[in-house]
Each structure stands twice: as C-alpha cells, then as structure tokens.
C-alpha cells in the first residue's frame, strides 16, 4: 500500500480524517463560539473539553431513532443519507496534496457544483417527507435559497477557470504556483465565500433551519443518528467549502518549503473554518427575501461583471 492518488490507503485516510474533523468541529465550534461570546464553552469532558465530541457521539448514538408515523418513510430515511453521500463524494476531487486525493478528474469544479445541487434534494426531501409545517417551510426556504445562490456561485468560479484554463482542481492549484488567485479574483473570492456560506446552510444564511423562527426547519422531525447525519453533514459541508476556497483562491498546497504540502492545505482550511465560525458568532441572519434580493440584484450582476472583466484582461 502506498500513498498515492486513488490508492486504497489514501481513500481510507481521507474518508476517516474528513469525518473525524467534521465530528471534532462540533466541539471546536461550541468552544470558539463561547470564546467569542465571552464565555468558556464546554470545558468539562477531557482536557479543556477535548472529549466533548465523544460525549456528544455517545448521546447521539444512544438516542431513540424515531420515524414519525405520519412521515413518508422512504424519503425520510433517504434524506440524511443523501447529504452525507453527496458531500463525501465531493471530497473525491479535492486535491489535498500533490500525491493525496481520490481521483484526478478534469471536470472537478463541475462535479462539485453538481454535487452541491444534489445536496439541496436532501434538504427538500427531508422537509417535505416530515409532513410538518415547520419542516415544509424550511424546505421551501431551502429551495428558494438554492436557486438564488447556485447561479452566482457557479459564475464566480468561472473567473478562476478562465485564468487557469482548466476545470481540473489540480491544474488550478498548479496554476497558482506564483500568484494565488485571491489577488486577481478578489471579487470572485468574496462572492464564492458568501455562496459557500449559503451552500452549507450556515449562519448568517441558515435560513432553511432558522431555530428562532421555524424550530429547526427541515430537520425538525429528525432524531437520533438521522439528525446526527444532518448535523455532521453541515460540518462536512463547512470543511468542504473551506477546502474549496483554499484550493481555488489560496493556492491549495502551495506554501513555505519547510511545511509539508498537506499541512499547508490543512492550515489554510482551518483558517477558513474558523472564519466561518466567526461569521456565525458575529453576523445576524437576514430575512430570506433579503437574501434573494441581495443574490439576484447585487451578487449576480457583480459576478457577471467580474467574469467579463477577467475575460477582457485575459484577451488583451
């Protein structure tokens, strides 16, 4: 067994590490949110609260796994599976380091965009099959939010694709050898950041779940490990978006020579994960018509202009 793209060991490692990191984020997020709200956060279990994730996992695994009798059983059970599968599949094309990755696909970005669109099915099916008014409202909002952000999310990435001349994420990273794309594509980066928050249903764009307004939105009726899958799926999405930002705009594994490439990648991703948690701590949630207005009337034209200008500069 050797560590190479697509080898069994690499795939197992990536799967394990990604899920472990997402589970750990449950604790890390609670702790960081605590610090940013002048609290301490959970610090009782293990050293400085480090084993809190174990406690959470034991709790979530031993809870009753209950399917409401009024729910549409098949899609109710399918929905959490879809979100986990889809996001884990997206990790297949992420280039963690020159020799670490699952596949070297030349349609990497398209694959990730397609998977992100499929992820919306999970949220919509989950809400619809629950047969609960809050869940239905949540999935309605998820559908509205999806059509708003996915358009400019795709367009904001086209600048990067135009600059590197490839849909392959490894080629994109290689093209950033000298200059990270965050400098020529700053507007694209900001737009993708906003779209990424919306894609992973995180605050300030967690409109489909919005605890204060509609209970827990689409996963109101979920309990036990099914809820856990939605929960971990959210953190998986967070890790995915952070690593995508690293890959697309911050040079992936490029960094100082004394650091191994995979560590460079991890450090950059961790910064973005922390930034997403900071966003959650700081920014209030907009109404969903505000998000739609903002997306269609401001970010979509902005991303189009960005693409136009990038194209013009490349042609000149």
């Amino acid at each position: 067994m050797n560590l190479d793209i697509g080898s069994g060991l690499t795939i197992a490692l990536i799967l394990g590490v990604v899920i472990m990191v997402s589970a750990l984020l449950i604790t890390v997020e609670r702790r960081l949110l605590g610090f940013w709200q002048e609290r301490l956060g959970p610090n009782r279990v293990g050293w400085g609260g480090s084993l809190q994730v174990v406690a959470d996992m034991i709790k979530i695994f031993t809870k009753e796994d209950w399917v409401p009798p009024f729910a549409d059983r098949f899609s109710f059970v399918m929905a959490p599976a879809i979100i986990m599968t889809v996001i884990l599949l997206s990790f297949a094309v992420v280039p963690f380091a020159p020799n670490i990755g699952v596949i070297d696909s030349n349609i990497g970005i398209l694959f990730i965009l397609a998977m992100a669109s499929l992820g919306a099915y999970s949220v919509m099916l989950g809400g619809l099959s629950s047969d609960n008014k809050y869940a239905l409202l949540g999935s309605l909002r998820a559908a509205a939010q999806m059509v708003s952000y996915e358009v400019f999310m795709g367009i904001s990435l086209l600048g990067v694709v135009a600059l590197s001349g490839s849909f392959n994420l490894r080629d994109i990273v290689a093209a950033q050898e000298g200059l990270w794309f965050v400098i020529p594509q700053f507007i694209g980066f900001v737009i993708f950041l906003i779209a990424g928050v919306a894609e992973s249903h995180r605050l300030p764009f967690d409109i489909p779940e919005a605890e204060q307004e509609i209970c827990a939105g689409y996963h109101t009726e979920y309990s036990g490990m099914k809820f856990g899958m939605f929960f971990v799926g959210e953190y998986l999405g967070l890790v995915l978006v952070s690593s995508l930002i690293t890959v697309l705009f911050f040079g992936g594994w490029h960094g100082p020579d004394f650091l191994p490439p995979v560590l460079c990648f991890a450090l950059k991703s961790i910064v973005f994960i922390a930034f997403f948690i900071l966003l959650r701590a700081a920014i209030p949630r907009p109404r969903y018509d505000q998000l739609m207005t903002y997306g269609w009337l401001f970010l979509l034209p902005l991303s189009l202009i960005n693409l136009l200008v990038t194209g013009a500069i490349i042609l000149l």
Binding site: W36, R39, L278, A282, I283, Y294
Partner: protein
C-alpha cells in the same frame, strides 16, 4: 446608484466592523465563573437559606407570633405556639417548606424578634423532595445571626418569671392608674 452604494456600505463595511469587534472578544476576559471549582462571593445581605437564630443567652428568639407565616406570600412557613413554665413563648414546631420558598425575605422583615433570618447559603438542592422540608431542629443555629445584642425578653415589656413588668431595659415602672388623684 446611490442605493447600490448604501447596499455596499451596509453589507460589507458594517459587517467587517462587526466581524473585527467579535474577533477581538477572543482576547477579552471571560465572564464565566467556573462555579463548583470557583465559589462566587456572596454578599452578607444575600437572601438565601433561612435560619432561626438564638438570643445572646442561647435561648430561642422565636416567640411564635406567626407574623412570618402571615407575611409569607407562598405560605411555606408553618408553626405552632407553645408556652414554657416561665411564661416565654416558643414554637412547638417550626417548619419551612423550601420547595415552595421564594427567598423573598418578607418573613425576616416581619419578624419582631429578629429570630428568622436569611443567609447567603444557596446550595440547597436535594434528590428527594421531602428533604426540602426543614424542621425546627434543622433551622435553629447556635449563634445570634446578623444581630448580636438583641434579646427580646430583656427589651420588651412582657412579663416572664424572674422579670416583672417595668423591669426591662429602658422601661419605666408601670403606672398605678388608681393612685392618680385629680
């Protein structure tokens, strides 16, 4: 156009300032007190667990006047008056149901003899609800509580064995109404 600038100002600048402000909270002192490891300072006038105090001579201060039970808004105090041979009144039983008590301190304000007092102790959780009902022997303490010199029977004009009318501190001898000649 103006609308777009306002939008940019509202969405970017304002959010950036918020993000920075919240990020700097990371280095602030945390407000959390890690309670069981770190005991908070309780002020002497904190209204916590209720006690019954004794006078400087070591006798019970409570004279079973029932004023605390009347003042109690949740009716958590129950007591029964009894009398000693020397004429002193005392509660035969004195019962406080702490599962009802709201620590309002009205009983302390109503008490004419400073017997019932509230203390800064607040750790009163029990596993069995019945354990929240405290009897007189649980409530009585050996000391005088917050008022060290007060002794009701030395000050008040009530007659008990060994102290007749007019013999209390600062008390004039009783007036014989029949001797008052016009």
């Amino acid at each position: 156009m103006k609308k777009i600038f306002t939008l940019i100002k509202d969405t970017l600048l304002s959010q950036m300032v918020t993000l920075w402000g919240v990020f700097m909270k990371l280095f602030d002192r945390k407000d959390t007190v890690e309670y069981p490891d770190e005991q908070p300072y309780m002020f002497p006038r904190w209204r916590g667990r209720i006690i019954l105090s004794r006078d400087p001579d070591g006798e019970e201060r409570c004279v079973a006047c029932n004023l605390c039970a009347v003042a109690c808004p949740v009716d958590c105090i129950a007591l029964q008056k009894a009398e000693m041979e020397d004429g002193r009144w005392y509660p035969e039983f004195f019962r406080i149901n702490f599962s009802r008590c709201i620590m309002c301190g009205f009983c302390e304000e109503a008490c004419p003899t400073n017997a019932i007092q509230l203390t800064p102790d607040f750790e009163m959780a029990e596993y069995v609800r019945q354990d929240m009902v405290w009897e007189k022997e649980d409530l009585l303490i050996d000391g005088t509580g917050k008022y060290h010199d007060y002794n009701y029977y030395r000050i008040a004009g009530m007659q008990i064995k060994g102290k007749d009318k007019g013999e209390a501190r600062n008390e004039a001898a009783p007036v014989d109404v029949r001797s008052l000649m016009p």
